[in-house]
Symmetry: C2
Subunit: 224 residues, 2 copies
Amino acid sequence: MVAKCAIVLLSGGLDSATVLAIARSQNYECYALSVDYGQRHRAELDAARRIAAALSAHEHRTMRVDLAGIGGSALTDAEMPVPQALAPGIPVTYVPARNTLFLSLALGWAEVIGTGDIFVGVNAVDYSGYPDCRPAFIQAFEQLARVATKAGVEGGRFQIHAPLIQMSKADIIRAGVRLGVNFGATVSCYQATAEGRACANCDSCRLRAAGFAAAKIPDPTAYA
Amino acid sequence: MVAKCAIVLLSGGLDSATVLAIARSQNYECYALSVDYGQRHRAELDAARRIAAALSAHEHRTMRVDLAGIGGSALTDAEMPVPQALAPGIPVTYVPARNTLFLSLALGWAEVIGTGDIFVGVNAVDYSGYPDCRPAFIQAFEQLARVATKAGVEGGRFQIHAPLIQMSKADIIRAGVRLGVNFGATVSCYQATAEGRACANCDSCRLRAAGFAAAKIPDPTAYA
């Protein structure tokens, strides 16, 4: 029997680790893809490597894209500080067109290995309000994939799986624990230390800590 | 008066040079974007720099993306030869999801500089049959841009300008000459030498030579 294959976008954070575990539980042979885009929280790339190995990804690649050159985000511009509290509106940690870019890279790799299944850990409930985490975005990208690719034109199917999109952070954590994800190995913090220790104050840290509290699961995060 | 700004994807070939000239003729301040994706015809990146300067682009950036790692195309895989003749179907020079990726990078930069105008030199007449050169692809990407970005969510307009999409190669060449493009500085060949000399045999060389012949304009291409 030929295995089902899927590309899984793996940032090294809590959400994408859970998505990889979900894809594995559905018997996909997983090609995990991380992107080194000049993010300040580079410890997440080390975390991605550990998670890919722990969850038996078939392969793990880190692709380099130089987004720091265009700036425009607190995550890629060293001069722009990471906010220390949640605020209304789309925050300055938004990286312009990031998920469009990540899915483009995933789409290219999917064509090469011959699969139409791509998993991504976007979430539109306990999130920072990024536009490219919403169902409308996922649907628009699926539509694009069908007309953009040789595989799509030749009748291939493309599906962007976003299993977390309507889940609360607490539900994501519960699902991950059930599937054996070691959340202690994940890094969510936007300004993690080189060793992956979290700041406890950024958007991402606050959403994560609130999720563990709501799920009534001990928080394994290493704080700085 | 604030200038109109646009991102212009600039490969260094004949088509994108003409697009840059068209955008300039429409009074756009142009931010030219080239992508170093590990293509074998690296001479086109040098050509892009010369063209950006000659046509007074406001700025020119070359972003690096490592596509050679995923392979799957004769343009990025050194082991896969470039075909020496046109053949039916989508050829092996197709780079999986290339224009999706290029437009994603353009979209990110567009958000940062605050414009919704992106120019791209795709053409669906005298072309190699790539799926991501067709009107359906351009429309799907425009739709995606509106839901994918902070600017789109906040009511901003995104337009992917593809002024060449229904033009013959001869018409493109005539338009470029009218606008002062020095086609001798452009590189179209998929396996150009380091100095930019063309092979005369690949798809891209054949389409280009036929275009100059049909336009009855002397072909300034330097052949190896």
